[in-house]
């Protein structure tokens, strides 16, 4: 039985022989993979943005004016005992006023018109990254709200709910788009290999004539599909990487000023490897389906 190198040689020689069809297939596949990669890139950067926002989550417990003087100490101790809290700071009403004045100097006129300090004292607790899920934040916030002398607890609930929805959308979006792209690539590969078989039906017929087994006929087509799928994914990775480098530098400044996020990220090596592998697997599978379909049609005839 001929070895793998023989089939690889045959697949390469047929890629060369039908160069224009092969290039067309690789280009079409690269466009489809390019769409998928762009979506992955968008999703991973939005996810990165969301996790950046989640990193510095702080819970503020505002204390009423007539609260017991020991309450700040009690709250600080209570929060420090929790494993998910990294830092607890007491901010007195005066410190809060000073912070406002330093952060928003242009608004100090409004404060001047007021008779007293409008800012309440508060406890600021920083939550460890990785523990910033909605349920946990609600638990801490609920416990703090029940403490006598605590007026209000704030942790950016709305923002977190929106982030959770966005993350969910991205997760399902990746699955749906990934599934759709897989089907599209399979169909494309199936169609182009079917076309390729049609072009070479004489060759396939002659191979059957001289006693080639179904495996002998299939292998070069499957290898050809693997090569085309891999090349399609590879071209897409290179093209998207180039476009990303060109585009990222242009929008990074804008992103930093709007969202406070620095440095857009390209896909990690593991993901790139997975995309290339998927290209090869989808290419091979599409080809195998096409050749099996051709065989079953031949038998029917």
């Amino acid at each position: 039985m001929a070895g793998l190198s023989y089939f690889i040689r045959r697949a390469l020689s047929s890629l060369k022989r039908y160069a224009s069809t092969s290039i067309m297939t690789v280009m079409v596949l690269s466009v489809v993979f390019g769409i998928f990669l762009s979506f992955l890139l968008f999703a991973s950067n939005v996810s990165h943005l969301a996790s950046n926002w989640s990193k510095g989550v702080r819970i503020y417990a505002f204390i009423t004016e007539n609260a017991h003087p020991d309450l700040p100490q009690q709250l600080t101790a209570q929060l420090r005992s929790r494993s998910e809290i990294t830092d607890v700071v007491y901010i007195s009403a005066e410190a809060a006023l000073a912070r406002f004045q330093s952060e928003f100097p242009e608004e100090t006129d409004i404060l001047a018109s007021l008779q007293s300090n409008p800012f309440p004292a508060s406890i600021e607790a920083t939550v460890k990254s990785g523990h910033t899920d909605k349920k946990r934040l609600e638990t801490i916030s609920g416990e703090l709200s029940k403490v006598e002398g605590v007026e209000e607890v704030v942790y950016g609930k709305e923002l977190f709910e929106k982030l959770a929805v966005l993350r969910g959308l991205l997760f399902w979006g990746q699955i749906i788009v990934g599934f759709a792209i897989t089907l599209a690539c399979l169909f494309l590969m199936y169609s182009t290999i079917r076309y390729s078989i049609m072009l070479r039906r004489n060759e396939v017929g002659i191979l059957e004539l001289v006693g080639a087994t179904p495996d002998f006929i299939r292998k070069p087509f499957v290898i050809e599909g693997i090569i085309k799928g891999f090349l399609g994914a590879f071209v897409a990775v290179i093209a998207v990487a180039i476009l990303f480098r060109l585009g990222a530098s242009a929008i990074e400044g804008e992103l930093f000023s709007t969202f406070g996020v620095k440095g857009l990220q390209f896909l990690d090596l593991g993901t790139v490897f997975l995309v290339l592998l998927s290209g090869a697997v989808i290419g091979g599978a599409g080809s195998l389906l096409a050749i099996i379909r051709h065989e079953s049609k031949t038998v029917e005839q």
Binding site: M1, A2, Y6, R17, N202, E203, G205, I206, L207, E208, L209, V210, G211, A212, T213, P214, F216, E295, V299
Partner: protein, 249 residues
């Protein structure tokens, strides 16, 4: 080597191409198959080559019932059968060498052996100098010789040739026949379909005549040919039998 029992072949249930065919061809036999166009010669070959199944009846090749074979088994059987078609069935984008080598590549023969055997068979058919040319650069007769070389390169047990000399001049026809006779001497069972009376007349070989899908004459059969056969053909069949060489029996 080849046995047919009450074989029928029809298309679309209305046109019977082969009708109640019974036939036995022994190992090492050389048999001519004749008949007008549409008599069923090519269909019979397609059945023998497992390209199509019989509508009913049994076809046994090398003792195996072909109707019970799967694709893998059919492929294995085809490796031992050489076929030459009237339309050559060559890969026009491959060189002459590659067209012949493919038969040995399918068998997984080492490259060195493939090169040696292809060169030898190309020399036998007089096309060694054309090894690196494409089939379409050659004449019809030369293309036919490529097909013959491909069929013979692995010394098959059976060789089925459908009008192999239809496109050849007299001289090349004689050369091609010589190749078939030589293969036969080496033990290959040969079945050759032809219109050309000159090939089988006085050849001393068995001759089968097909008419409307029926075997109407078998020079090896003791049965009197059926009435549909004209007297001339009957007489020729008798002549052929009388002239058979002792080593053919």
């Amino acid at each position: 080597m080849i046995q047919l029992f009450h074989v029928y072949k029809s298309y679309f249930h209305d046109r019977e191409v082969l009708v109640d065919l019974n036939l036995k061809i022994e190992k090492g036999e050389f048999c001519f198959l004749t008949g007008i166009s549409g008599a069923g010669k090519t269909t019979l070959f397609r059945l023998l080559f497992c390209d199509e199944p019989a509508t009913s009846g049994q076809v046994l090749i090398m003792g195996r019932n072909v109707s019970r074979m799967n694709r893998q088994a059919i492929a294995m059987m085809r490796r031992r059968i050489g076929v030459v078609f009237q339309d050559f069935k060559l890969m026009n984008d491959r060189t002459v060498f590659e067209n012949i080598a493919v038969r040995l590549e399918v068998l997984g023969r080492p490259r060195g052996e493939t090169v040696e055997r292809v060169k030898r068979v190309l020399k036998d058919v007089g096309l060694l100098q054309c090894a690196n040319m494409l089939p379409l650069q050659l004449s019809g007769g030369e293309q036919q010789r490529i097909a013959i070389a491909r069929a013979l390169v692995n010394e098959p047990l059976i060789l089925l040739a459908d009008e192999p000399t239809g496109n050849l001049d007299e001289e090349t026809t004689a050369d091609v026949l010589r190749l078939f006779f030589e293969a036969n001497v080496r033990g290959t069972t040969i079945m050759l379909a032809t219109h050309d009376r000159r090939l089988y007349e006085n050849s001393g070989r068995r001759m089968l005549r097909l008419e409307r899908g029926r075997i109407v004459m078998d020079s090896a059969s003791p049965l009197v040919p059926k009435s549909s056969v004209d007297d001339v053909m009957r007489q020729q069949a008798v002549n052929v039998r009388l002239k058979r060489r002792p080593e053919d029996d």
